[in-house]
């Protein structure tokens, strides 16, 4: 991806980018200046210019406004001079040096027999000879003026016509046209756009490997399938990428080992349990059989839940888009069918992204707790811009405020009403919270008045929608 001439270190890359940008803007502005530079084609005798323009202006005044330009352009001078009605405002601002061109304007006004009073002129600044002030210029009456310059090549004469608009006279070849001004603006725009593109391209190239790395880290953090990290970019970024990949592999190996171990434990526990179960079913004494079956079931659920809790962290979190409303409604319906007071209220659809079975297990645990300790479960779904909130409310005694966080600890038991006699493994809340946190959400418990507990589940909305 990187060309050979690109330096390796990020600092040098940034410096190169800055230099590159400077070169681009310099070249472009040079081109702009060159393009706008007036190209003198003809050298005019100053006396000729003053006499002719003066005479033309004085005669032009008496021509009707609509025909004035046509008439001027039909004059023999039109082969050297351009006549236009471009306003004085469009004169290149740098050219207007009233004191250097004042003598020029005076001379023309005189040549125009005073028929036009307002004449402005512009001459490009000349380095060789600039008079201190216009007063130094003496124009003898009825005589050809003593001109400071024998000849000129670039000039603009603007005369105010009786109707109030401006007549512009300039040598052909000095492009004062509106299009050229627009072009100048366009050039500037193009230069800026090019500079912006170069800046964007360069910084995007520097940032691209970091973006890829950030994306890979994010995916890894959320347990999604690993993304490839391109082996490119500056040396420092390559080092980070390399370290990240080896960390990812190390954690991947660890997770795999743990998964294998868990699967083995799960299997090896279930085999003797299966034997025990089959044997217990053969016990003739019904009381003993029932008691042993209960014990076995308790053992089984502790083993299952413990493994579940251990598995949440290592299970891949492949996401799928699913509808939260139908899931919560199904949970409510199934508990209702089993004779429990479980209800659901919420919008018609709520799309989330993540592991459906995991969230379902988490919510089921909360509902089970609510039914077991609080007599009923009421699920309420609401949404904000960024997340969904599922409140599972019961009508039980609640939990002492200072114990609200403790009950999430595995096997934690509250004094009093919530003990092992009510069943359950003591892992329900821990599992529920781990499951929800694994999907970027969280669960908090709160007491409500007059009596009851709310388990509030917060679940982020998918980024895409």
């Amino acid at each position: 991806m990187s060309a050979r001439w690109v330096p390796d270190q990020i600092g040098l890359r940034l410096a190169l980018a800055a230099v590159l940008l400077l070169v681009v803007t310099q070249v472009l502005s040079a081109a702009l200046v060159y393009h706008l530079r007036p190209v003198p084609e003809t050298l005019f005798e100053t006396r000729w210019v003053v006499d002719r323009t003066g005479s033309l202006v004085s005669r032009a005044v008496s021509i009707p406004r609509d025909e004035r330009l046509t008439w001027l352009r039909a004059q023999p001078e039109a082969q050297w001079l351009r006549f236009d009605t471009v306003g004085a405002l469009l004169l290149p601002p740098l050219w207007i040096q009233e004191d250097t061109s004042l003598w020029f304007a005076k001379a023309i006004r005189k040549a125009a027999d005073g028929k036009v009073t307002t004449i402005r002129t512009a001459l490009p600044p000349q380095v060789d000879h600039v008079p201190e002030s216009a007063d130094q210029v003496r124009v003898p009456p009825h005589h050809a003026p003593v001109f400071q310059r024998e000849s000129i090549s670039i000039f603009i004469i603007v005369a105010k016509m009786p109707e109030g608009d401006w007549l512009t006279i300039s040598p052909i070849g000095i492009d004062l046209h509106l299009t050229s001004m627009a072009l100048a603006g366009g050039w500037l725009g193009i230069a800026l756009a090019l500079a912006a593109i170069v800046a964007w391209w360069v910084s995007a190239r520097i940032a691209a490997p970091l973006v890829a790395l950030a994306d890979a880290a994010d995916r890894f953090g959320r347990g999604l399938p690993a993304a490839a990290i391109p082996d490119s970019g500056a040396r420092e970024i390559k080092t980070i990428s390399k370290n990240f990949v080896s960390m990812r592999e190390r954690i991947g190996r660890y997770v795999n080992d743990r998964m294998t171990m868990l699967a083995a434990i799960s299997h090896d526990l279930r085999t003797p349990m299966t034997r025990m179960r089959l044997r217990v079913d053969r016990i003739p004494d019904p009381d003993l059989r029932a008691a042993l079956t209960r014990d076995l079931q308790a053992l089984e659920s502790i083993a299952k839940e413990t493994l579940n809790l251990a598995k949440i962290e290592v299970e891949p979190q492949a996401g799928e888009r699913y509808d939260l409303v139908s899931m919560l409604q199904s949970i409510a319906d199934e508990w209702t069918d089993a004779g429990e007071a479980v209800s659901f209220s919420g919008p018609r659809r709520a799309i989330v992204s993540g592991r459906r079975d995991a969230l379902r297990r988490g919510i089921e645990n909360l509902v089970e707790n609510a039914v077991r300790y609080g007599g009923r479960a009421e699920m309420r779904l609401s949404e904000s811009d960024v997340e969904y909130a599922i409140d599972v409310v019961d009508s039980g005694p609640g939990i002492p405020e200072d114990q609200l966080e403790n009950v999430f600890r595995p096997f934690y038991r509250l004094e009093g009403s919530r003990n092992r006699d009510t069943g359950g493994t003591g892992l329900g809340l821990a599992i529920a919270r781990s499951l929800v946190r694994a999907q970027g959400g969280d669960i908090v418990l709160a007491n409500v008045q007059p009596g009851g507990l709310v388990a509030g589940v917060r679940l982020p909305k998918p980024k895409s929608s």
Partner: protein, 247 residues
């Protein structure tokens, strides 16, 4: 005399690598009126001869060497008998893989003796009602009006790909409908068909389940497009359904 009686007993094949489980299962099934052949693995099964003589197979997933899935696939190439998989893993993956390669049912270890017997009886009973379908004839995927149903994963997807959750009764009911599109089904028929599909008791009236299902799949539950009520009792799934074989 004894041979004549045992010949009429359904013959169950049990494959499990754990000797004790094998012995206990064989004992359990014989006591419940089955003839049982229990072997440790696929090799032992092949040494014993073909699989034609069995009416049903109970296979453990985790076997040394050739695993239960491979054995299940092997048996499927030779026979259409019902296969029940036993697994020590409680997660979805084993169930989905098992059902996809042609197993009929799936039981998680440890299981109650009564449950195993009940599942075996249910499978054999179904065999008497309807002959087994060849794998190629099994329909496991259905689609209607953009909706997709995967009967193995038990997933329903809305036209935009979002998974819509159904209760097991609702799902079974939907499968019964999409297997018989454009056919009027009375409440009794629906009850029988849904009950035949599910292992759990069907304890709600059909009407309640249908109204719940409509809320989830119909744009307007009071003006259903898919599940229409037919006068004089009954419902019809009034949309065309495309059924695809598994795979």
């Amino acid at each position: 005399m004894l041979d004549a009686v045992s010949a009429r007993k359904p013959h169950i094949l049990v494959v499990d690598d754990d000797g004790e489980i094998r012995r206990l299962t064989a004992q359990l099934l014989s006591e419940n009126g089955f003839r049982v052949t229990a072997v440790a693995d696929g090799d032992a099964l092949r040494r014993q001869g073909g699989v034609d003589r069995f009416d049903l197979a109970v296979l453990d997933v985790m076997l040394p060497g050739e695993d239960g899935f491979a054995l299940c696939r092997h048996i499927r190439t030779l026979s259409d008998m019902p296969i029940i998989m036993l697994t020590a893993r409680a997660d979805e993956t084993d169930r989905v893989v098992g059902l996809e390669i042609g197993a009929d049912d799936y039981i998680v270890k440890p299981f109650a003796s009564r449950e195993l017997v009940a599942r075996i009886r249910a499978r054999l009973r179904r065999l008497q009602v309807a002959p087994p379908l060849r794998s190629a004839e099994r329909r496991t995927r259905f689609s209607f009006d953009g909706w997709m149903i995967d009967s193995i994963r038990r997933e329903l997807r809305a036209p935009d790909g979002t998974i819509i959750s159904l209760t097991s009764t609702e799902f079974d009911l939907l499968i019964v409908f999409v297997e018989r599109p454009q056919r009027v089904l009375s409440r009794d028929e629906l009850l029988d068909l849904v009950h035949g599909r599910s292992a759990h008791p069907f304890d709600r009236s059909i009407d309640v389940s249908i109204s719940r299902l409509r809320k989830k799949i119909e744009a307007q539950a009071d003006e259903p497009r898919f599940i229409r009520t037919v006068r004089n009792g009954g419902y019809v799934f009034s949309t065309d359904v495309v059924a695809e074989p598994d795979g």
